[in-house]
């Protein structure tokens, strides 16, 4: 008895584990289904997705969860208040925080920071993550790293090892990760989606470790262990919208901010995010096939009344009150909700049926996901489709692969819907011109009247003679030229052609950044060079004083994060190329030098500002050599440039001699050094030196 309170004290010291659950996807992937119900509440094996996430959090020992919702926040709140998570005995205290202003993960985390909700490390998950991964080890490693390295590591991302071709891998989420094999530090993180070429910045290989891993066999479980700094960083960088922005931003600026991201790779357990309907299909069937044990349908972990089902051979689950007609077969992997009535001679396999459905005779269901209160008449065939609440499917209807019937749609009779048909009671065009908030309170009758006023009628060719609903553009193939907002709801099959998925990620602004990972340094250098050129040009045109030019170049240097050495080299290069830029590349050597020399004289103070130490002079000369090597015809001008710079006291004779005597590496630079004019100049310098020594 004595040991218990002591343990409790210790726990208080350690602070309870907190979690931030983002119950909004911030994209329209599940449209038109999510027009009526937020994604977190969509049923997956007859249990809302958010319940899976909360169960995962609770079983890892999270004691306080903040649920952030935006889209249809009131529905989520209502659901949670009724669920077991809000009972006083719940080990995990759930707080719901709603706001209409959240537009991205970044907004949520900024709010976390503003409200100072988290006190220590927290778990960050989305409301559609289904997982049974044991993160305690990752948590421990994270804490250890934080205590060892003075809070350098801000985040640990959880990855599940799943080689290409793994079912839970969705092509949208393919990533390439480069990491330090020993410390598990992430060096480079990039979406690999539809990329044929991959670029890795060189600097990641200079980070001092001798063991690198570049991995493509990882699945981002979208579970991360974050330190409170993460929220602060989101506040500091108001342009971060997604986690991808954050990770890339942090990696690029690693040297400046000194923050690191680590990863934890697990082989055991199950972790996936229901990011599109294909994943919905996969995760549902995995739940029924018991991959997510102990989260199985018959466990009734959400503790809902009347949800307890029995499990029998071939993974057939039945909730109470199911009635099955004569001759109907439940072949395998079937879950049937309470009080559902199934007619005679049906064949059902790999299917989830919700509560209070009525299914007629001779119905064939394969990979169908039927939600609650659905009526299906006789002789219907359904293949790999989602049928939402209150849908009515009249007799003789055939649904091909990847059809979606959103809420309250009526289809049929005797119609065959082609592959990838999406039907909804919402007209596809209404989404843009109406305030989204209206839909929170609207029920469907209002929707009807609106539609009528707009003179939009149901097309019997699309939904059947007695059908109700509008056809949304078919999702799978032709969306490349279609509008960008409606993303393909099914995601991509593993075999899909890579061209079509370029559209599917549009809502995530980071995509563009992610797909052109050309070394960011190079870009900056180029831009900087252009800026310097522009500055000098303006200086010339407007006769700006050299002091101000220096000031401008310095500010550019900070803006683009360019080192002093590079500034000098670029400055040299810009100045030397200046005549070409002004007069065109075809000018003669004489013209070139006559243009350049006055400029050098004019900008001498600028050079002097940067060229101070002997090393600077060498860098300067090396850059000069580089420029001249590129234009052989103007070698004669080199001497004049050197001469004038010597006279302007930018360069000193020791520097020039040192440069000249330096072992030249290429044939061309040796040739350059054998140039007549240059040899003469060097000789003159030597003599001048000797004579000056003699004077002393």
């Amino acid at each position: 008895i004595q040991s218990r309170p002591r343990k409790a004290d210790k726990d208080e010291e350690e602070k309870p584990l907190q979690a931030v659950l983002v119950a909004d996807s911030f994209n329209r992937r599940f449209f038109p289904i999510t027009k009526d119900q937020p994604r977190a509440l969509l049923p997956l094996a007859n249990v809302s997705m958010i319940d899976y996430t909360l169960e995962f959090l609770t079983s890892t020992g999270v004691q306080e969860t903040f649920v952030f919702c935006c889209w249809m926040a009131s529905k989520i709140k209502e659901h949670l208040q009724k669920s077991k998570w809000c009972r006083p005995t719940s080990p995990n205290v759930v707080h719901v925080i709603t706001s209409d202003l959240y537009r991205s993960l970044g907004d949520v985390l900024r709010d976390v920071d503003a409200k100072a909700l988290v006190r220590s490390d927290f778990l960050l998950v989305y409301g559609d993550v289904v997982s049974n991964i044991d993160v305690s080890q990752a948590l421990q490693e994270h804490k250890q790293r934080r205590s060892m390295d003075k809070n350098v590591s801000v985040m640990t991302m959880i990855f599940k090892e799943s080689p290409p071709g793994h079912k839970t891998r969705c092509e949208d989420d393919d990533i390439i990760v480069a990491m330090d094999g020993k410390s598990k530090r992430i060096l480079h993180y990039q979406r690999a989606q539809a990329l044929k070429k991959l670029h890795f910045p060189m600097n990641i290989f200079h980070s001092g470790s001798d063991e690198f891993e570049i991995r493509f066999d990882l699945l981002d479980c979208h579970i991360s262990i974050c330190s409170p700094q993460v929220a602060e960083l989101f506040t500091d960088n108001f342009d971060y919208q997604t986690k991808n922005d954050f990770v890339r931003g942090l990696l690029v600026n690693e040297e400046i901010l000194g923050n690191q991201i680590h990863m934890h790779v697990t082989r055991d357990g199950y972790g996936a995010r229901v990011s599109n309907l294909l994943m919905y299909d996969t995760v549902s069937s995995d739940t029924i096939r018991r991959w997510i044990y102990p989260i199985t349908p018959e466990a009734n972990f959400a503790d809902q009344e009347g949800q307890s089902c029995t499990h029998s051979r071939h993974n057939v689950y039945r909730e109470p009150g199911v009635s099955l007609g004569h001759g109907s077969q439940m072949e395998e992997n079937v879950l049937i909700g309470r009080n559902t009535v199934i007619g005679a001679n049906c064949t059902i396999s790999n299917t989830v049926i919700g509560a209070n459905c009525v299914i007629g005779d001779n119905v064939t269901l394969d990979r169908a996901y039927i939600w609650n209160r659905v009526h299906i008449a006789d002789n219907v065939k359904v293949k790999q489709s989602v049928i939402c609440d209150n849908v009515e499917v009249k007799h003789g209807v055939v649904l091909s692969e990847q059809c979606v019937l959103a809420y309250n749609v009526v289809v049929g009779p005797d119609i065959t819907l082609p592959e990838g048909t999406v039907l909804s009671m919402h007209h596809p065009d209404e989404e843009d011109d109406e305030d989204e908030d209206e839909f929170l309170s609207d029920d469907n009758d209002v929707g009807y009247s609106k539609d009528k006023t707009k003179q939009k009628v149901f097309n019997p060719a699309e939904v059947g003679s007695e059908g109700k609903g509008y056809r949304w553009k078919s999702s799978s193939l032709d969306d490349t030229e279609e509008d960008e907002l409606a993303e393909c709801i099914w995601g991509l099959a593993l075999s899909a052609d890579p061209e079509s998925d370029s559209e599917s990620e549009v809502s995530e602004g980071s995509h563009d950044l992610g797909s052109h990972p050309a070394s960011p340094e190079l870009d900056d250098v180029k831009v900087f060079q252009n800026e310097v050129h522009g500055t000098l040009q303006r200086g010339l045109d407007e006769n700006i004083s050299c002091d101000n030019l220096v000031l401008e170049i310095n500010s550019l240097k900070y803006a683009y994060n360019i080192s002093l050495k590079e500034v000098m080299q670029i400055l040299m290069r810009v100045v030397l190329e200046f005549p070409f830029q002004q007069q065109g590349a075809q000018i003669s050597t004489a013209q070139y030098s006559s243009h350049l020399l006055p400029l050098l004289k004019k900008w001498a103070p600028v050079f002097k500002n940067y060229v101070k130490r002997p090393q600077d002079q060498l860098d300067c000369l090396a850059s000069m050599e580089e420029v001249f090597l590129e234009c052989e015809t103007h070698w004669a001008a080199l001497v004049k440039v050197l001469m004038s710079m010597y006279q302007l006291e930018i360069l000193e004779e020791e520097g020039i001699m040192h440069w000249f005597n330096q072992g030249s590496t290429t044939d061309k630079s040796q040739q350059l050094r054998r140039n007549q004019g240059l040899l003469k100049f060097i000789k003159w310098l030597q003599e001048a030196e000797e004579s000056s020594e003699g004077d002393e």
Binding site: T58, S59, R87, P88, T89, S90, P91, N132, P163, G165, H166, K167, R267, D268, G269, Y270, S285, R289, R290, W291, I292, Y293, P294, T296, A299, F301, S308, H311, S312, R313, E332
Partner: protein, 352 residues
């Protein structure tokens, strides 16, 4: 209100116990032994008895039944929980009868005459109020807890009667009871143990390591080699998850194979099972005795959705394959189990 506080505290404890039960066994094998589960259940029932609001024995039994139903539903494969609830219910009945002064009630002899005369009337009589009932029940539950503490020792004490020098003994997987049993025998005698590894969770490996530490000569074999090795074996000693009412077993997967092989070679099969594993359940369809775990361990890459993977955890072993049960109260034949059952549980409690 201290009373309300107490009650929320109590329901909190029940909830946490429930969720623990639900999650129990998410790793390989059950992480906690069933002895521990039995103790925890009994301690929780004692707490309910002490803290819940009840006026007479009938109310208390109703509360315990109600919570008991939830506990058994939380993890149906863990029969120990239900067994302990039945034991406590029986204790309440006995204490109530003692308070009323009619010790005849405790006599559980089932006779045709009794069946005809009793019929449901006893339930009404539980309404009487006794001031000392609570203390008496708690006292009796404490005795039960003490009994539970000593079960493993009681079983291993009998080891020397069954294991002789230079015998070859086979076991499967890891059972804490068998482990203690063998270790106890090893203090006096030299013998050889063959452990079937019990894939895919391979608890047999742990068992072998643990036995080696006690200087017992140990060999690990794959499950497939059980039959081949059986001809050399003198005795098979196994543990079990549950002893069913007909004397059959629900034991770790592979036990049926082992039992059949033992029968074929006429090797005696001894089951070490403490009394709290005795359950009034009878086997119906074999499938209902299996708990299916995550298939992740057997099939690492699941590329094809066409491949079905199953990972049952328990086997049903029929009573005719078993030679002897060793429990904490001594050795019994499988045919005698029904008798022990009627001593432990009241027939009305078989269905909670």
């Amino acid at each position: 209100m201290p009373g309300a506080d107490k009650e929320t505290d109590l329901s909190e404890r029940i909830e946490s116990f429930l969720s623990e039960l639900k999650r129990c066994g998410s790793g390989a094998g059950s992480l906690r032994g069933s002895a521990e589960t039995a103790r925890e259940t009994t301690a929780l029932l004692r707490r309910i008895t002490a803290q819940a609001r009840w006026g007479n024995a009938g109310e208390l039994m109703e509360i315990i039944r109600k919570e008991g139903r939830r506990m058994t539903a939380a993890q149906p494969s863990e029969t120990t929980v239900g067994n302990m609830i039945r034991r406590v219910l029986k204790i309440i009945r006995e204490e109530y009868a003692r308070s009323r002064g009619s010790s005849e009630e405790t006599d559980q002899q089932e006779s045709l005459h009794k069946l005809l005369t009793s019929g449901g009337s006893s339930e009404d009589n539980f309404r009487q109020h006794f001031t000392h009932l609570k203390a008496n029940v708690i006292e009796a539950i404490n005795e039960l807890l003490t009994e539970l503490e000593g079960t493993t020792d009681n079983i291993s004490m009998q080891a020397l009667e069954h294991i002789h020098s230079n015998e070859v003994i086979m076991t499967i997987g890891r059972s804490r009871t068998v482990e203690a049993f063998l270790k106890d025998a090893a203090r006096k005698r030299k013998f050889h143990v063959i452990v079937a590894e019990c894939a895919p969770f391979c608890q047999g490996h742990e068992m072998a390591t643990s036995l080696c530490k006690e200087d017992i000569e140990t060999t690990v074999i794959p499950d497939a080699a059980i039959f081949a090795v059986m001809s050399r074996v003198n005795k098979v000693i196994i543990g079990t998850q549950t002893v069913l009412a007909n004397g059959g077993l629900r034991a770790v997967n592979g036990t049926h194979t082992l039992a059949l092989a033992a029968k074929h070679h006429s090797t005696p099969l001894i089951v070490c099972a403490p009394m709290f594993k005795l359950s009034p359940q009878v086997p119906d369809t074999p499938y209902n005795h299996t708990k299916l775990k995550s298939v992740d361990t057997i099939l690492y890459i699941h590329i094809l959705s066409k491949v079905n993977a199953h990972c049952p955890v328990f086997d049903y072993v029929p009573p005719e394959l078993i030679t002897l049960f060793i429990s904490n109260i001594g050795g019994n034949a499988p045919s005698y189990i029904y008798r022990l059952m009627s001593e432990l549980y009241h027939p009305e409690d078989h269905e909670l």
